[in-house]
Symmetry: C2
Subunit: 342 residues, 2 copies
DNA sequence: CTGTTAGCGCATTCAA
DNA sequence: TTGAATGCGCTAACAG
């Protein structure tokens, strides 16, 4: 292999290579490529051409060293497999990706030690900020106030009110769900939902109950807490029909539960939505679109949560600090399982 | 704000701060912290304490500048929402995360332009390598041979045989599926699968047919290509039962299809698995565990694909280049929907 | 064992 | 308009 002198050198081109090829100093090359106005047009052109010939890519490490800002942020998630983290992550990636910032992804696997390890590693890489994505809406321990960069919590709020957290509004979600069922002419509404240990389950139930009360109605039975699974949806529905065969709507805590509910309703001869309307939660497409009829559900706008968190972080990096828990509205995805009573 | 001189300065501590506090030179501080042996134990101790008092984190940018390696890799995905990318990404993150390397996540949204943009940005940040994750197993355009860093393709292979690609072995997956059904005593096996435009669908069918032939059997009817949905599973099953009411097993191209198949089988009075065994594909937990009975499925070991890709990239960064398409075996997740004929 | 010097790649003074 | 010099934070070569 004869050492070539041209662009074929394996060594990635550096600014000094560009400068030499263009016959100018490093400083001038830098100015030319960065659009500084103190360069003759002809010179600038020569530099730009040289840079292209060498496929020159400015070394962001060097830039970061000088600027003190790296244009990178850390995205700390606790469960990649979880279906909540992903849309949030997409929203954040989306809000950043358009611009100049790159995202470090770290999955702590729900382990506090590993999380701390990742935080240290990210700080070592001089990220400009952190987004912490949780897998459930229960408050989580703050990373602390001592960090040298801003932090925004998404989905799972920090337990420190001095931190900024972006979460979906689950209480309101319960409310709008019930209001939709009422608008469909339903009045005997039951609620089958997930694990009572989840704040999300309790909040949605709370919102639903409040909306019923506001309408002068009561829930059919009590909220049935269980697990977030199809199996629980089936079990709970069997119990429900036994006690309240006249139910005309079931509000579910998840799409999985709703699928189980629909299955048993149909088996027992109840038509959906003619006899009983069913609503899911999460708007998980694989479940809503496979359902017969298509499943009405609540969408938590998680991508929006991610985008908002990213924008807030951006603001905080710029010095505009917010704090507290900001709850974003959910929206209905209305489909066949909740047609109006005719 | 009076300018403090101690550790309370907002400026992140630097090696020179540590050196000053410990009363040594910068070089000595560096050696002490990096475990170089040419430092007196007592001095080292003093430096370490100083570093801790200042919460010193070595600036990886500066290190990267010197070393020429940054300890970062780019993970280029085309569809974050896709259920295939995530496990692969987890596996890769896993294989890296244990060590010293951080992962840049980029979602090109299936857009070649955006992908190119991300590649440039990542190279600017001097990543040590790239993993390109596709959303289907059809070959995709190579990023080219001119890149200054190694690239490994995962799930979707590169169309350039000089590149290294890690993919699941779909042909073999079809084979072991049929062999499992045969082992369950089934002989009248049908195949309902997804879009014929997907290589994955064609390869799985190919493997299944080969295994049947090897056993001296034929498929019941022809492979029924359609879409990857529950709806297609229902439709196809209705047609299948019409033509071949004696079928005793249905091999499905996805878990969604399988769910639709089971639903219609039961509606028509066929018991699963007593009369008809059903197998899914993907081992997507939300679908397999909600199914009644629990759904046997093929797991593509995607995390393993991700891990292998990461390890291969690691090797390539170290100079050990492989190439070609490496197919990793799939495995069966056997559950109630495929019990043996009694 | 410790400190001085040089330089990674770049942007930014300041002179020329 | 251009270029030489300085330094971002750190490591690695040397000299003491």
């Amino acid at each position: 292999m004869t050492p070539a002198t041209g662009p074929s050198r394996s060594h990635t081109a550096t600014l000094s290579d560009v400068a030499r090829l263009a016959g100018v100093s490093i400083a001038t090359a830098s100015k030319a490529l960065n659009g500084r106005s103190q360069v003759r047009a002809e010179t600038r052109q020569r530099v730009i051409e040289a840079a292209e010939r060498l496929s020159f890519r400015p070394n962001q490490l060097a830039r970061g060293l000088i600027a003190g800002r790296t244009g990178t942020v850390g995205l700390l998630t606790s469960d990649l497999e979880g279906r909540f983290s992903i849309p949030i992550l997409m929203g954040a990636e989306d809000a950043f990706g358009a611009g100049e910032v790159a995202v470090f992804l770290c999955d702590a696997r729900g382990d506090a030690i590993r999380e701390q390890h990742h935080v240290r590693a990210l700080l070592g890489r001089r990220v400009d900020g952190l987004i912490v994505v949780g897998s459930r809406t229960d408050p989580r321990p703050s990373l602390g106030r001592e960090l040298p960069v801003p932090v925004v919590y998404a989905y799972a709020p920090s337990d420190d009110p001095a931190d900024l957290s972006i979460v979906p509004d689950n209480v309101d979600a319960g409310r709008i769900s019930v209001e939709h069922l009422l608008a469909c002419g339903r009045t005997r509404i039951a609620h089958i939902t997930g694990d009572h240990g989840y704040l999300a389950a309790r909040e949605r139930a709370e919102g639903a109950l409040a909306a019923l009360e506001a309408a002068g109605l009561h829930l059919v039975g009590v909220p049935r807490f269980g697990s977030w699974s199809e199996g629980w949806g089936r079990t709970a529905t069997a119990m429900l029909l036994e006690q309240h065969p006249d139910v005309d709507a079931v509000l579910c805590g998840s799409d999985q539960i709703a699928r189980g509910v629909i299955e048993v309703l149909r088996e027992r001869g109840h038509r959906v939505p003619d006899d009983v309307a069913v609503m899911g939660f999460d708007n998980w497409q694989v479940l809503t679109s496979g359902s017969r009829p298509l499943l009405t559900s609540v969408d938590m706008n998680l991508e929006q949560v991610g985008r908002t968190a990213a924008q807030a972080l951006f603001g905080a990096i710029g010095g505009a600090a917010r704090s507290g828990v900001e709850a974003l509205p959910c929206r209905l995805a209305i489909r066949g399982s909740t047609a109006p009573l005719s």
